[in-house]
């Protein structure tokens, strides 16, 4: 037996969780919302709506879009977005560890079954 969990942040609706994290993290790596959506088999319009929703519920701009130009444009995670990602990663990692520990405390003796 093992423990499973889903954790997310809410602000009058889902604000940030595993799905948004996977999307924005890929934008950070690729500097492209198109590419990030593609990697997750998500349509661009769905990814775009998700980003709009995250930004609205968290209250800051996560992505900075450069349109066209010689470099071809792209989407860049803002400094505030990068800080938030780091904070979320630390939180998520801590939470997973502590849930496992709490599970072991209460069910450790049963988990070999």
């Amino acid at each position: 037996m093992r423990v499973c969990s889903k954790i997310w942040l809410d602000n009058d609706g889902k604000a940030f969780g595993e799905g948004p994290y996977q999307l924005v993290k890929r934008v950070e790596r690729t500097n492209s919302l198109h590419e990030a959506a593609h990697q997750l088999n998500m349509s661009y319009s769905k990814a775009w709506k998700l980003v709009q929703q995250i930004e609205k519920r968290l209250g800051f701009a996560f992505l900075d879009r450069k349109v066209g130009g010689l470099s071809g444009g792209g989407s860049y995670v803002t400094n505030e977005g990068k800080e938030f990602l780091k904070r979320y990663e630390r939180f998520e990692s801590d939470a997973k560890k502590i849930i496992e520990k709490t599970y072991q405390k209460h069910f450790g003796s049963l988990s070999k079954k």
Copy 2:
């Protein structure tokens, strides 16, 4: 902003979580799987299948069914089931508290936004 979570136990599939807890807790109170299912707007057949699945994945009998007789029969939570419910309640309460604490540690400064 606030943190939300779902936690469940898995053993080759969902073994126990909030839904099963609500069902079995009502059987403990009412001594009737019919009544417990009714209170949760769940069909009896769905409730019955859920109990079968819980018992299979946890590896012990959760309910003891008495059929007919002068007392009219009913479903009773076994001693092992009662012990498990208590364990789960302590685990769930601990986990919720510790997730909130972890959230405050990482996002406390942002949560007034």
